[in-house]
Symmetry: C4
Subunit: 277 residues, 4 copies
Amino acid sequence: MATEKDPESSLKLKLRRVIFGTDTPAGRYFDISLMVCIVMSVLLVFLDTVASVHERYGDMIVIMEWGFTFIFTIEYILRLYCSAKPLSYARSFYGVVDLLSVLPTYLALFFPGASFTMVIRILRLFRIFRVLKLLRYLSEGNLLLRAMMQSSRKVFIFFFSVSLIVVVLSAVMYVVEGPNNGFTSIPKSIYWTIVTITTVGYGDITPGTPLGQAIAAFTMLLGYSIIAIPTGILTAEISQEIGRTRDLRRCSNCLKVGHENNALYCDHCGSELESEL
Amino acid sequence: MATEKDPESSLKLKLRRVIFGTDTPAGRYFDISLMVCIVMSVLLVFLDTVASVHERYGDMIVIMEWGFTFIFTIEYILRLYCSAKPLSYARSFYGVVDLLSVLPTYLALFFPGASFTMVIRILRLFRIFRVLKLLRYLSEGNLLLRAMMQSSRKVFIFFFSVSLIVVVLSAVMYVVEGPNNGFTSIPKSIYWTIVTITTVGYGDITPGTPLGQAIAAFTMLLGYSIIAIPTGILTAEISQEIGRTRDLRRCSNCLKVGHENNALYCDHCGSELESEL
Amino acid sequence: MATEKDPESSLKLKLRRVIFGTDTPAGRYFDISLMVCIVMSVLLVFLDTVASVHERYGDMIVIMEWGFTFIFTIEYILRLYCSAKPLSYARSFYGVVDLLSVLPTYLALFFPGASFTMVIRILRLFRIFRVLKLLRYLSEGNLLLRAMMQSSRKVFIFFFSVSLIVVVLSAVMYVVEGPNNGFTSIPKSIYWTIVTITTVGYGDITPGTPLGQAIAAFTMLLGYSIIAIPTGILTAEISQEIGRTRDLRRCSNCLKVGHENNALYCDHCGSELESEL
Amino acid sequence: MATEKDPESSLKLKLRRVIFGTDTPAGRYFDISLMVCIVMSVLLVFLDTVASVHERYGDMIVIMEWGFTFIFTIEYILRLYCSAKPLSYARSFYGVVDLLSVLPTYLALFFPGASFTMVIRILRLFRIFRVLKLLRYLSEGNLLLRAMMQSSRKVFIFFFSVSLIVVVLSAVMYVVEGPNNGFTSIPKSIYWTIVTITTVGYGDITPGTPLGQAIAAFTMLLGYSIIAIPTGILTAEISQEIGRTRDLRRCSNCLKVGHENNALYCDHCGSELESEL
């Protein structure tokens, strides 16, 4: 019985290494071709929304969609089969996304509008970060994430203060400009204030009265200058993170860490540093 | 008499700890439910300006508005009652804002247009910073404020120079483009220059002549590049502030301060640092 | 004769200290009231371009304009009179600006269109920097100027590369979109590219073809990301400048300079630093 | 035979120093006049696309174009002639660009539409960097390039994450707003998202529904704040590069490198530094 189970578990193990792993050539090849399939299936959904493409290639796209759905269904079943704990995979974020990315095509047979939810497939692309791990891109991404974590409180305070200002400015603009100039309600006025303070400036709603234009000019100058605050916060944190991760060489003589990157000698005791970086 | 006064003052004291304090669970609970009431009452005023909502739920909103006003009136009276110095509370910024946030509903009985001033209630939200204090958000906010103070002179010089440039460019554009292209007056031309130099770009007024377009292009490039100046100033100051507040550990051997955050040993004398950070 | 000349030269000297100097109360008072006059006279010219204001207060503005011109004429004559070297004053930048700021009103008697050149008065406002000197604002401005000088070469290379990219993109967009979509000529296409790459986005000219929109999207993303380059350059230089100007205390024991701002002890030899900053 | 070849090779060598070299006065003069010719010939092509200019000066421009083509043809032949390895020059980037910049005028004789490809001449302007080398601009450019290289991985991760967000937001906006509000297809929706997230904001497509405007406001705030990330990355790297390149003076006593710019004494051993910077 042990011999009977061994081959099965060895097949499972082999599949698992290919499907879930990224450290074998087959695993990497599987991940990359999966990425290509996902990108292509999402591109198909996108192109199908263009009227001229839909008219011409609509039937072909439906067939290809079924093809991709078929591939993804098999992949999902294989993942369930070879996973060490199928249930915990099915409940995990990626497990749910994998299931949701095949369902829409089947559901669209019964509910025609369901095909748009196929866009959920794009979420599967986040798996690419696992492939990127191979390419050592992940540590750089982690550095950014750490810097963002470090600055999250300051950025939260910044955004909280900005939203209070936005709300007050919106109420003022609603009273000053009124519905005749497009400020039909305070929520719409908030939309305008955000369009203005972020310097997007669609121009679908613009102030018409001199006082409104003066307040608008003030809003713009405010938005133009406060962008410096989150930038300053993040820059300072990224600088710190880069400085922290760069040179952790420890002087073998005096134990000092944190020399400059191009240092040849310890800047305290003058003994030569090993270039193991 | 002292015994008669004690219970009363103990009630006052208890109320004061709940209403003004934030260090007891009851005080925190009171502050947070007050925040929720303020946000909801402001949201009501905002939604009431949407025509379709006003038609459908207008009556209900009026009733709820009165409910919130009733709550805030009682709160104001309680604050006056339990405050150690009622008069100095009534004259303080928050005291005036608290009064102004209940008056509009009563005034609207006699003057229909007064209800918009209810927006002043939003100013009460700044109280949230006191609640945030509990969550240690305030020190981060103070760091930002200190950095802004430090850079205020440089930023003032920057804005003063920019406004001189804006005025000169506006006068030139008024002469070049003239009223036919929407530059009906120099103040309007100043509005256009600010829209352009802050890279908002509504497009409600755009240059029509080749020379005007060339000057506009110059204005855009100017605005696009000078944003670097306030950003640079603030980033440098925030970096300094972060560096200053981070590692103030003093080496117990040589008394040096200002080591790097991850330093294990003093970078001057090599003795181990205490990790009390 | 010497006695006759002495009182005259003492009057000259007194006047010179008031008009050219900023270190006496009278000199400061003179400079500040001059600033107020200049700002008001420029504001008048600006408001006069607003049609409704011109109709109502046009006559009054003409009278006030003459009043200001009269004041500035007397001031110009006094400057010529009390200057140590009248000719070198008359030829200096401020001398020419002072003359040009009074001429337009007189010229407008003969040539009606000349009144707009009155805007040149605004240039006199740059004198305000002399007043600011009193308030120690100038050293901060100098720090910014030094940082800009330091980074000018890098910024020049940046702008040179960007303009090459702008020119190539403009030519491509002209070919792709053509005159039907508003890209009537390559110079106009360059205007569009600058509007887009600086993220101003008027919307007076927008791409209509899918390929044009793709190139436009690329242009936007380019402009959105390369703003980081001048910002990075300037921030780095400002950081350096701030660091350089801050702590120039020299350790009296080992002569090291450039300690951290909050350093109590020299970070090389450990001897106490004087806090003369 | 050696004597016969020597004069020829001396002519070749002389020409090569003028045409390819930049270290003789003649070489510099040649490069600068070539730059002027290139700029003027490109300007001609640009101005020729303006309808009014084409009508008036069209014939003159054709003649001048032939003149410039003639000059560039001779230059190309001379380069081929005097180059040490003519074939490797012809195959190099500049060799191909030089050829492509003269072909269009000749091709336009047979294929009228080919004249636009003349814009390729602008690529020759990149040669200016060689001239800039003389002015020591290149090392500054290299510093920028190195900083960009250093940050390329982080910036790639940033752009990859942003594009995933853009795609998801585009799909959502297409479903929310639909073709009636201008979101005719998902590719067009992607165009809108990029216009919005980069804060360009043309206003050719704007959300009409309240939900769409809320998502648009979120997109703007996102774009407004994430610009801080590439800026922070690049600023940190440029700071590092500037710090690294600035002071590489080595203390002659203890061999330490990396002193501050204004250091007079080595901050480790206190011996005086040579000011050879």
